[in-house]
């Protein structure tokens, strides 16, 4: 988008919100705990300030977030300020994009990759979650934080940090958590729902996937396959399968964890997780994909065996280059 995007400070953003009265707050598609937490916390904060607001989510909200209080005003009219939270790109507005994509007045985000599609942007790429920024904003606004607001904010921060596990956690993250946990919220129950709950069918799928485990390159590589048949049998797909890639990177001594997921008759999506000195983006680049050094992906056509062969060849090449394995060892 060529239109000018103005970066705001926290103070300027607070001023911006104070001046306006009716808000549409947008989340990104395939909503997660952070975009939902940020949207609802901002909603509750604005309501506490006597303003009107509506939360709009382009997709159905997964049932695991049903502990959020999903009440929202329904407002309409021309005098509406459109705010997007945790939405790095207007494309991520999904079904809301057509109506709102080019009239987002304020975006509050923590993704360094933000495409600056909004008129005004409050961006803090050091924040672990959009909810960290919303917390600071509510404090700056002196908006009353109550138990539901604290629950929403805690959920967002826990979601985006893997419950304080990842490298995006800072001292500030823990300071904010210390404040939120003082409210009457059951963080243990939130975390159980977010991190330690899976469906019977997903457990069944995980078993099937573990049955496919293959080790290569002196056990430095594990390959897991998720076939179309497994997905049909268990009814598990999309976000359900995120945990599989996590399994592939959890095995001691493994430098390359590969998950090959069938997405069409002759089409597979590869998820690759690597540890140094391997480079996932280099490996997936060979197959026309991309990503980050530790996590990358690619979509590859062929039979399962052909796809396996391609990704294993690319991994083996990277291992030889990095001197962690030699084809002479075979």
């Amino acid at each position: 988008m060529s239109k000018q995007c103005k970066e705001l400070t926290l103070r300027a953003t607070a001023k911006f919100l104070k001046k306006r009265d009716n808000f549409a707050i947008l989340t990104h598609s395939s909503p997660d705990g952070d975009t939902l937490g940020a949207a609802y916390a901002l909603y509750y904060g604005l309501k506490a300030m006597g303003k009107k607001a509506e939360v709009l989510c382009p997709d159905i909200i997964p049932s695991k977030y049903s502990y959020f209080s999903f009440t929202t005003d329904h407002i309409s009219g021309d005098n509406l300020t459109v705010v997007a939270v945790d939405v790095a790109d207007s494309k991520l507005l999904g079904a809301l994009g057509e109506e709102f994509g080019d009239r987002v007045e304020l975006c509050i985000d923590h993704h360094i990759s933000n495409t600056r599609y909004a008129e005004n942007l409050l961006l803090d790429s050091k924040a672990s979650a959009a909810c960290e920024i919303i917390y600071e904003l509510l404090v700056k606004l002196k908006a009353k934080i109550n138990d539901v607001t604290a629950k929403a904010l805690y959920t967002g921060i826990a979601t985006d940090t893997g419950c304080f596990k990842y490298s995006n956690v800072t001292a500030k993250t823990h300071m904010i958590a210390a404040e939120l946990i003082k409210y009457d919220i059951d963080t243990a129950e939130i975390n159980r729902l977010m991190f330690d709950t899976k469906s019977k069918n997903l457990l069944q799928l995980e078993k099937m996937v573990l049955d496919t485990a293959e080790y290569h390159f002196n056990d430095k590589c594990i390959l897991l396959a998720v076939t179309a048949e497994m997905q049909e049998k268990t009814g598990c797909s999309g976000p359900d399968l995120e945990g599989i890639a996590i399994i592939s990177r959890s095995v001691e001594g493994v430098l390359a964890g590969i998950t090959v997921k069938q997405i069409g008759e002759r089409e597979f999506k590869i998820s690759l997780r690597t540890f140094p000195p391997l480079d996932a983006v280099q490996i997936c680049g060979k197959l026309g994909g991309g990503g980050h050094k530790a996590a990358a992906g690619a979509t590859v056509e062929g039979t399962l065996d052909e796809v396996k062969e391609k990704i294993l060849a690319a991994v083996g090449e990277n291992m030889e280059k990095a001197n962690v394995w030699s084809s002479a060892d075979k």
Copy 2:
């Protein structure tokens, strides 16, 4: 033990430590991140104060803690002050019990069940981990905290809170984490090693265990079995199997997660995890076991099928009593 145990405040404990010069610091047997973190952090703190100390652990330290700096002085002599950390009962001193069990001058602990075997006791049962108390003690002592000390303390707190997931986490826990994370420590890597790493053999065992999954009482109960054969084949036992009980309580809709682990030819250890309104301690009590409302256990003799039948009968009875299932539904 009938001898008098004196409860100390943080300040009195600091005074106690300042007055003495040579310390033996004892951990509990089957050492975990909290007892090790507390022992080494206290060791580093005392060293920074110019004192001599030795860390003594009754068992081999698991390799996953090898990122601790396991240097320790070796001291001896009569003029030794014996301190136990995170040790709730002198029985838990294991191999160190005979030499030190009745001469622990100071115990620093957070278990409400502490048996008061030590001469002096610093007990804070609201602390999520012994490492929380050690942190406060080092601050009170004005002992210099450096990167290794921070790493040890963070490890202990992360261990005992499931990485800030459990209900024992308080605002103070997060405040201390905020201070520790300011040091040059890679918390993401610590957490990966502590929570997201398993051996190839354990993954294999988990697959075998998932193969045994049985659902009962309208899917409100899952039963997983770990046979002697599985343990032999994979070489996994004891602490490796803790994760299995976690699986049993992670399935959506399940109120009773049962793990039956073979420990002898005709002997099985049952681990039960329940959600309200079920009561694990009532259920396991019927089989001669005990524990807490949400987590209990029992050791039962018989064949696998006999043991399954016994625990399922006890679970079914509790379910009927709690009106979450009726035998008429069968």
